[in-house]
Symmetry: C2
Subunit: 234 residues, 2 copies
């Protein structure tokens, strides 16, 4: 079966967590909205009856249309060996992904504290304050949590000896924070040697390595979740 | 089996979506942190090895410890007839709950746009702006989406003829918005007659009705997600 991924064509955004899972699994998929008439197809799906998603990303898998990043990964994980087979293991990995979802939204809100509908340029002052709080309080809390779990896992990956989609997502978090906040991240990385090692192991996986240098990987830019604004990286 | 729910004792917060599901199902549970030494027990669980949750709420179900509100509901839904039995149905209802999760965070951010670690009093200006955006753009988008789904469902509940945990959560959204923004909500409700009807049907369910008048239901207050600040309801 060929999956159809629907997501905004110009950014990595939340779609990237799904792309990394599909790529690592070597799954067959089309990134629909990047193709001709893809955006129109995406909009039609969102206006349909039945199970229309509230927002991208969503994945068409045969007759199923699955929305919400973590929900898509939950579905893919069980089918492509990217999650434990047991109910308890599946719930635990999903729980971790939902915690990453929360972190991703807080990253987005560093440049959009007044909401997703205003431009960054209209909220630069609040963005500076929110970013300060984010790096003082939230980054240590979130990344400290994952660093602790990795240390306790007894394996190379967050939940032990087998990679899950959560490891792929943590790779993206490290990669994105390095892009958006190079100075701050440089000063912070010594706190999370485990996660940096995990990031490097993910980057070295053959399918991921091939993906990252392909044109399927969209470059980071200032329309996505991870944005580099110099004044926020002071 | 008696479930153990762990959540901050003084607020409804995110724990309330779990409480409503447990109550409607007539499940046996303890609200641990509201009891003697409950907070200490909650902290111990979060510092444990194994599968420590990042944050409350979390649910102990036998040996399982499940965190993240939507993940807990996913688990309870399949066991207590609060979600469809099929994989497709279960994923769809979970997806809707994750969309409610996003809405709940946006509601929280109306009074905390600069992040969860500062006091409301330190961000009143940005809160006013974010609240304005929230009511102009986001409430119509989110509640319009659920109103549309309800209209298309062909039943009394969001996904058709059988109630799911999503209906219980939507009850709480209406209830909370009425508490936090009575004036704004009064002006908006005519847009969502279906959801108001759904709210009333949930409130009339015997187990929910009994719960809402019991002392197990914590009153809304200005430490929770839904806070009433007059200046934000102008």
């Amino acid at each position: 079966m060929r999956y159809e991924l629907y997501y905004w064509p110009g950014i990595q955004g939340r779609g990237e967590y799904v792309r990394l899972a599909l790529e690592d699994a070597g799954a067959d998929y089309t990134d629909v909205a990047r193709g001709a008439r893809g955006m129109a197809a995406m909009m039609t799906m969102m206006e349909a009856k039945g199970t229309p998603p509230f927002a991208p990303p969503f994945l068409k898998a045969g007759k199923l249309v699955i929305g919400q990043t973590a929900n898509i990964l939950f579905y893919l994980g069980s089918r492509h060996g990217l999650a434990p087979k047991t109910e308890a293991g599946g719930l635990w990995v999903h729980q971790l992904q939902l915690t990453i979802t929360d972190l991703v939204l807080e990253i987005h809100d560093t440049h959009h504290p007044l909401g997703p509908t205003l431009y960054y340029e209209d909220q630069r002052g609040p963005a500076k304050k929110r970013t300060e709080e984010f790096w003082n309080e939230r980054v240590p809390k979130y990344l400290g949590y994952f660093e602790r779990l990795l240390g306790d896992s007894g394996g190379s990956w967050l939940t032990g000896r087998r990679l899950t989609y959560v490891d792929l997502s943590l790779f993206q978090i490290v990669e994105g924070l390095r892009y958006a906040f190079p100075k701050r991240m440089k000063g912070f990385e010594w706190n999370i040697p485990g996660l940096i090692g995990l990031h490097d192991r993910v980057a070295a996986r053959p399918n991921i390595k091939a993906y990252l240098t392909s044109d399927r990987r969209i470059a980071f830019n200032e329309d996505g979740i991870f944005r580099h604004y110099k004044e926020l990286d002071a």
